[in-house]
């Protein structure tokens, strides 16, 4: 049922040309250089260490690997990460 709904939403978003992060609750990532990451539509933090940050998403989670990672600000919908980022991985 959910899958059908998602497909319908996707089709509608494409048809009406609406940003998908709004309709489908997808995460939006803004990466500035390799030191600054801004993420919208997250679902909380799973794990945070200096070298690894795992952020829960609506589907799956995002793993950020790097050094000296620091969460600059944490808001219900947004998160901003500073530090030397080596990799960003989407995991299910």
């Amino acid at each position: 049922m959910d899958k059908k709904r998602e497909m319908f939403n996707r089709a509608m978003a494409e048809f009406l040309d609406i940003p998908k992060d709004l309709v489908l609750d997808l995460p939006r990532l803004t990466l500035t250089g390799r030191n600054e990451l801004y993420l919208e539509n997250h679902r909380g933090i799973i794990e945070y260490t200096l070298n690894r940050l795992r952020i829960n998403l609506s589907r799956g989670f995002l793993e950020i690997q790097g050094h000296n990672l620091e969460i600059k600000s944490l808001l219900p919908e947004e998160i901003s990460v500073f530090g030397e980022i080596d990799a960003i991985k989407f995991l299910d």
Partner: protein, 405 residues
């Protein structure tokens, strides 16, 4: 959300959180709408910042989940209280300073009067003081417009007054009235202001009383303001009886009357003159003064001059033992030279003195006509006296009102 000014206003608390799985607390805070920023992972703990208002909510979350919490720093205006308490002396000093500045600047410290020419500044300041504007007056104690009005009423020689207050300085700017001159407007005669011989007359209005070449003395009427009707002889068959009955017309006589006038000056010169000159010979004596004895270092006590002037420079230091000092005396020899002045030279000097004396009496801009020198003293007199007479041509017309009675 991340408003730094607002955060500073509300107060920021920096917290250190100890325990396993700190992410749990972060997620729970997110659910409660607590804004967290500057999150840093340290070895065993997590450091982050929250607003002061969220502290209690976070404390409850941490307590419920068995986390240890520690405040490491407090920032922002609400926490300034402690700083204020600690530096109360400094702050109260600053406050007193500001108050003193405010208090001092609310008085007038300088009063200045500008633009006045005839009226004395002190008169204007005194009048201003009467209306409340004086050195040391409080700015609240007088009204500018009242002072302006008051000065204008009290000093009727002024036509405009502006009081300008800039800081602690009050400037009173005035404009004086230009009063009409004391010109005679009513009927008048033109009389002679000096003795003299009339050179030329230009009659503008009135009846001429004197002729060119006539000698007049001071006060004589030159142009009369009472005009009698002159029968015109060229008109044949005039009604003489009618003319005689016509009353004289009284007018303001006008005209220029130029006359030859004299000025006399007196001068004198002594036939022998005495002059004191320095011969150039000098004698210097230097004495060192001690409480016990004076030592002459240089020169003798008596310069050995008949006439001399002495210059003494004295330097002394008073000590408990007495006076120690240094006296430097320089005597310069003088000589009196008696000089006999020849008669010609004496006349020249006396004449110059007389002219100098004369110039004091005369007004400027007069045409020089003639200069006569008269020697008053006899050749045997020790002083040569002379009189200088100068002739000028000048306007001697002076208006004098007609006495109606």
């Amino acid at each position: 959300m991340d408003n730094r000014v607002l955060n500073q206003m509300q107060g920021i608390i920096e917290i250190r959180l100890f325990g396993q799985n700190c992410e749990k607390v972060m997620n729970m805070s997110l659910m409660r709408g607590i804004y967290i920023w500057d999150i840093k992972r340290k070895d065993e703990c997590l450091e982050f910042k929250i607003r002061r208002s969220a502290y209690h909510a976070l404390k409850n979350i941490a307590a419920d989940n068995n986390f240890q919490m520690e405040i490491i720093n407090e920032q922002g205006i609400p926490f300034l209280k402690k700083v204020i308490q600690r530096r109360s002396g400094f702050l109260s000093g600053a406050l007193v300073f500001l108050l003193a500045i405010y208090l001092m600047s609310s008085f007038i410290w300088f009063v200045e009067v500008t633009n006045n020419q005839k009226i004395d500044s002190s008169t204007i300041m005194l009048t201003a003081a009467k209306h409340g504007l004086y050195k040391g007056a409080g700015k609240w104690s007088f009204s500018r417009s009242q002072v302006e009005k008051g000065i204008l009423v009290d000093l009727n020689q002024l036509s405009y007054v502006k009081v300008d207050i800039r800081g602690v300085k009050a400037t009173i700017e005035v404009v004086e009235k230009i009063l009409p001159g004391d010109d005679i407007t009513g009927p008048c005669h033109i009389v002679a202001s000096k003795d003299g011989v009339i050179e030329e007359i230009l009659l503008l209005e009135g009846q001429m009383n004197v002729q060119e070449g006539e000698v007049v003395s001071k006060g004589d009427i030159l142009i009369s303001g009472i005009v009698f009707y002159q029968p015109n002889t060229s008109l044949a068959g005039g009604d003489e009886a009618e003319i005689k009955e016509m009353p004289p017309e009284i007018v303001r006589a006008r005209g220029i009357v130029r006359a030859r006038v004299w000025y006399e000056g007196y001068g004198e010169c002594r036939r022998t003159s005495k002059k004191v000159v320095y011969t150039g010979r000098e004698s210097r004596q230097v004495v060192v003064r001690t409480p016990w004895r004076d030592f002459t270092l240089m020169g003798a006590g008596d310069p050995g001059f008949e006439q001399f002037s002495q210059k003494i420079s004295n330097k002394a230091i008073d000590s408990p033992l007495g006076t120690f000092g240094w006296i430097d005396m320089t005597a310069r020899e003088k000589k009196t030279i008696v000089r006999h002045i020849s008669e010609n030279e004496a006349v020249k000097i006396a004449r110059e003195n007389a002219i100098k004396n004369l110039q004091g009496k005369m007004a400027d801009g007069k045409r020089h006509q003639d200069l006569k020198v008269e020697i008053l003293s006899s050749p045997s007199d020790p002083v040569l006296r002379c009189k200088v007479a100068v002739e000028f041509i000048e306007d001697i017309a002076k208006a004098e009102p007609i006495n109606e009675q």
